[in-house]
């Protein structure tokens, strides 16, 4: 058996793992990265990037179709047709460019990438096939996988998000199980691609992780798109049709060609002998402290493996920090806020505390929102729904949270996160000139409105 020695060994080449490796390489730490599938992990291969690509295809198709019927913009085109095979090919091209890019960055930073499945032996030893790797520091970054429902085993017409992102054809009918962000992003995309889409959600509203005011515009858009919602319905099983239990206890059979199971994700703790480390757990995730250290010295866990919020940008920030810690710097993972974005239509973004969370934390807050109906740029984008909302302390006007829903608001997450990290007050945002005409003006106006003097309302 071949033995390799390194300072840092990273298991998992997703956003957490590869960023750790790049930063470690920059800091001159000898680093080996082990990845069983493709570099980029879920995010680049079967998550963030391909889903956004598919959403873009769906939106373009939907828009063209819209213009082929009765376009208020005066555009006329003949009814479009879709070659989904080609769409998937294009999406794969985007993914390929990005994963190749990651490989090049790793190489540039002198990171040794080993393809294969890691098996943990102890806190300083990992085996990959017939290679044994000895390390001083071990970073666990194996990510997460879709949660499966035992009554809906993946296979045939029952698919997970992975299959949904590489469709061979667009089904005539699709039932999405789960009204969270993954189910809705894909459900809306499939609807726009032409499928009849229904969403089954056990709770009484969609996107139950967000407050009702914020999800209302999404709810409206689903209605307009013709997505059927089965709220407070739970899945019983599948035998050609999907059986769901109605709120009153009756069983309903939903005729469908495919069932997309999107009921959440769970940390990837199985199948790589993690048990050998006997680490303290936090539910199904590995328990970590504010430096991403596990209960074993020099063993770190980052990203989805360490639990919620399961977001690529969190994993990247953790990875960067861990690499700096290992290089001997004093570091702590202490963000004020981590933005969460839903690429539904309209988009939804949440950064920091919501009004309810601020209240629960004992803060006396001003909550103020500014509607896109009063924003010129939104009108020129044919988008009138949605708003920007700010939550700020009443005593010193320090902003504790931002939320927004509307077309294209995902890009506002940058400004939101920055204002929270810098400790901005309402006056800081109100006093910053926001370019006209942009959606961002609604950000400034929300702050001004909180101060009692919005200009365009």
């Amino acid at each position: 058996m071949q033995t390799l020695n390194t300072t840092l060994l990273i298991i998992g080449g997703g956003p957490g793992g590869y960023v750790t490796a790049i930063r470690a390489g920059q800091l001159g730490i000898s680093t080996i990265l082990v990845e069983g599938q493709s570099l980029g992990g879920t995010c680049l291969n079967i998550g963030c990037i391909p889903s956004k690509a598919l959403i873009h295809v769906a939106e373009q198709f939907h828009q063209t179709q819209h213009h082929s019927q009765h376009s208020a913009l005066g555009i006329s085109v003949s009814a479009p047709s879709l070659d989904i095979g080609k769409s998937v090919e294009w999406k794969d091209g985007v993914v390929d460019r990005l994963t190749t890019g990651v490989a090049a960055l790793l190489k540039k930073n002198k990171v040794q990438v080993i393809n294969g499945w890691a098996k943990v032996i102890d806190g300083k030893t990992v085996e990959v096939g017939d290679t044994r790797i000895q390390c001083e520091h071990l970073v666990l970054a194996t990510g997460s996988t879709s949660v499966n429902l035992p009554i809906l085993p993946i296979g045939g017409p029952i698919i997970s998000s992975t299959e949904a992102l590489s469709p061979k054809s667009v089904p005539k009918r699709l039932v999405v199980v789960g009204g969270g962000y993954i189910g809705l992003e894909l459900g809306i995309a499939y609807r726009k691609l032409g499928a009849e889409v229904s969403v089954v959600e056990a709770q009484d509203r969609i996107l139950p992780a967000y407050d009702a005011e914020l999800t209302q515009p999404v709810h409206e858009a689903l209605k307009q798109l013709g997505v059927k919602l089965y709220l407070k319905h739970s899945v019983l099983g599948f035998d050609g049709t999907l059986q769901v239990r109605e709120p009153n206890g009756d069983t309903l059979n939903l005729e469908t060609d495919q069932v997309l199971v999107a009921v959440g994700r769970k940390p990837n703790t199985q199948g790589w002998n993690l048990e050998a480390l006997n680490l303290d757990m936090n539910g199904s995730a590995i328990k970590i402290d504010s430096r991403c250290q596990t209960s074993m010295r020099n063993v770190y866990a980052i990203g989805d493996l360490s639990g919620e919020p399961m977001l690529a940008h969190r994993a990247m920030a953790q990875g960067e920090m861990v690499a700096e810690l290992i290089s001997g710097k004093s570091r702590e993972f202490n963000p004020t806020a981590i933005a969460a974005v839903c690429f539904t239509d309209p988009e939804l973004v949440v950064v920091g505390q919501t009004p309810d969370e601020a209240k629960a934390a004992g803060l006396d807050c001003i909550v103020s929102s500014f509607p896109f109906a009063a924003n010129g740029r939104a009108m020129t984008l044919e988008s009138k729904s949605g708003f920007v909302r700010v939550v700020a302390r009443r005593d010193n006007h320090v902003i504790v949270g931002w939320q927004a829903v509307g077309v294209g608001v995902s890009e506002l997450s940058t400004a939101f996160a920055q204002s929270l990290e810098m400790g901005a007050r309402l006056e800081d945002i109100g006093g910053t000139i926001h370019a006209h005409p942009t959606l961002g003006e609604a950000v400034q106006e929300a702050a001004l409105r909180a101060l009692g003097h919005a200009l365009h309302l």
């Binding site: 710097k329 702590e332 006396d364 005593d395 006007h397 320090v398 400790g423």
Partner: protein
């Protein structure tokens, strides 16, 4: 309710700018009449600014270390009655003269009576250190947080001077300057490599000294000259006088003798008792000998001035030097006592060393430094004898003082000291 605005007063004659050294109050504090609000510094004098009114502080006009224009708003206090700020006036009062440095006015929104679960009020604090609750997250940008980690500082202990108590980079520096980080820094092993850095902001007195020293060395052409002086005779005289009159008139140090030597020597070298205005290209020779005596204080070097040394007896000089040194060390010296010298005397006392290169106290043209007195074997008339020897290290502004004159001046002082009787023979 009205607002009483206190403007930066004119502390010394013809001073346009004053440095704000320290706040004794913060926004929201209740103050009573005569309570000290702030320390400000001009030239080298520290001055307390008392409150003329009872009331509540609603805004501070600047940050410690900030140089503020005379007449700019120092502090706003909410008072019963009308205050001195007209309601019709703009919310930010305009300074009488246009301030070169725009005062930053910090205000905090009025806090409504907090509910039971309401936010904690900011703890009362002065100086760069403050204790927050363990779970209270200090407001600070990512860069400040990272820097604090690099420096090993617990951010929750650092006072935030920014809006809403935001911790700024400057606050980290102030905290470090206070040396508080040492308490929390892990004890280093004796031979461990150290990578800690301490950042001390140059403000207040230190900034003044730095400016003056830099100014002096950049403008004047320093020329230093060292001469060895036999002080055996004058030390015998000093011991004798102290034995005889010490109890009644006070003990004499060597300084009053040196002051006397300067006074006598300057009669023949008036070009040394002068101020050189290099912008106007004018040298002013002065009849009066105002001797600046460089003195170390807790906040740095100060130069209190013995006025009209030419009219003072030995004991008079001694008493004045002692009084001024005390005042300077305790920070009580007035601005008048700290300015107006015509020549400067500097001494490191027991630490006198062998040679020093004094820096001129511009616009003066000469400074005389005293080194340590040591017993040395000297050859006198072919005999090796033990004598008390001392070096005089002096510097001159070579732009206006020639080397020959400087050497002759020091030789004259040497002659006077080696033959102490000549100090008093008129």
């Amino acid at each position: 309710m009205g607002t009483h605005v206190i403007k930066m007063p004119d502390i010394g004659e013809g001073i346009a700018e004053v440095e704000l050294s320290q706040w004794h109050v913060k926004v929201g504090d209740l103050v009573v009449e005569d309570q000290v609000l702030a320390d400000v510094m001009t030239d080298k004098a520290m001055v307390d600014i008392p409150s003329p009114v009872h009331g509540k502080v609603i805004a501070l006009g600047g940050q410690p270390g900030e140089v503020m224009a005379v007449g700019s708003v120092l502090i706003s206090i909410e008072v019963e009655g009308a205050g001195n700020l007209k309601e019709s006036a703009a919310p930010a009062p305009v300074a009488a003269q246009e301030p070169p440095v725009a005062p930053k006015v910090e205000t905090v929104a009025e806090s409504k009576p907090a509910a039971a679960a309401g936010p904690r009020p900011a703890p009362v604090c002065q100086g760069p250190m403050v204790a927050r609750e363990a779970d209270e997250r200090p407001l600070a940008s990512p860069a400040v947080r990272k820097h604090a980690l690099d420096l090993g500082i617990q951010l929750r202990l650092v006072r935030g001077s920014g809006p809403a108590g935001r911790v700024l980079h400057e606050d980290l520096e102030a905290y470090l300057a206070q040396g508080q980080s040492n308490a929390s820094a892990p004890a280093a092993a004796a031979y461990a490599q150290r990578h800690d850095e301490e950042h001390i902001q140059v403000i207040g007195m230190r900034r003044k000294i730095a400016q003056r020293m830099q100014d002096a060395t950049q403008r004047a052409a320093h020329f230093s000259y060292v001469e060895e002086i036999d002080v055996t005779a004058i030390e015998e005289l000093r011991a004798h006088l102290n034995e005889k009159h010490g109890a009644s008139r006070g003990k004499l140090t060597l300084l009053p003798f040196l002051v006397r030597a300067l006074v006598v020597a300057l009669r023949d070298f008036p070009q040394m008792n002068a101020r050189y205005d290099d912008e106007a290209q004018v040298i002013t020779r002065l009849g009066a000998v105002h001797v600046g005596v460089a003195t170390q204080s807790d906040v740095g070097l100060m130069v209190p001035v013995v006025r009209h040394a030419e009219a003072r007896s030995l004991w008079d000089s001694a008493a004045e030097i002692s009084r001024l040194a005390n005042a300077a060390r305790t920070g009580k010296a007035s601005r008048d006592e700290l300015s107006g010298s015509t020549i400067t005397l500097t001494s490191l006392g027991a630490l006198g060393g062998i040679v020093s290169t004094p820096v001129l106290n511009l616009p003066e043209v000469a400074i005389v430094g005293v080194n340590k007195i040591v017993e040395r074997p000297m050859v006198i008339k072919g005999q090796v004898v033990i004598r008390k020897m001392m070096n005089l290290s002096s510097s001159f502004d070579h732009r206006v003082v020639d080397g020959m004159d400087a050497a002759l001046f020091i030789q004259a002082i040497r002659g006077l000291i080696e033959q102490p009787a000549t100090l008093f023979v008129e």
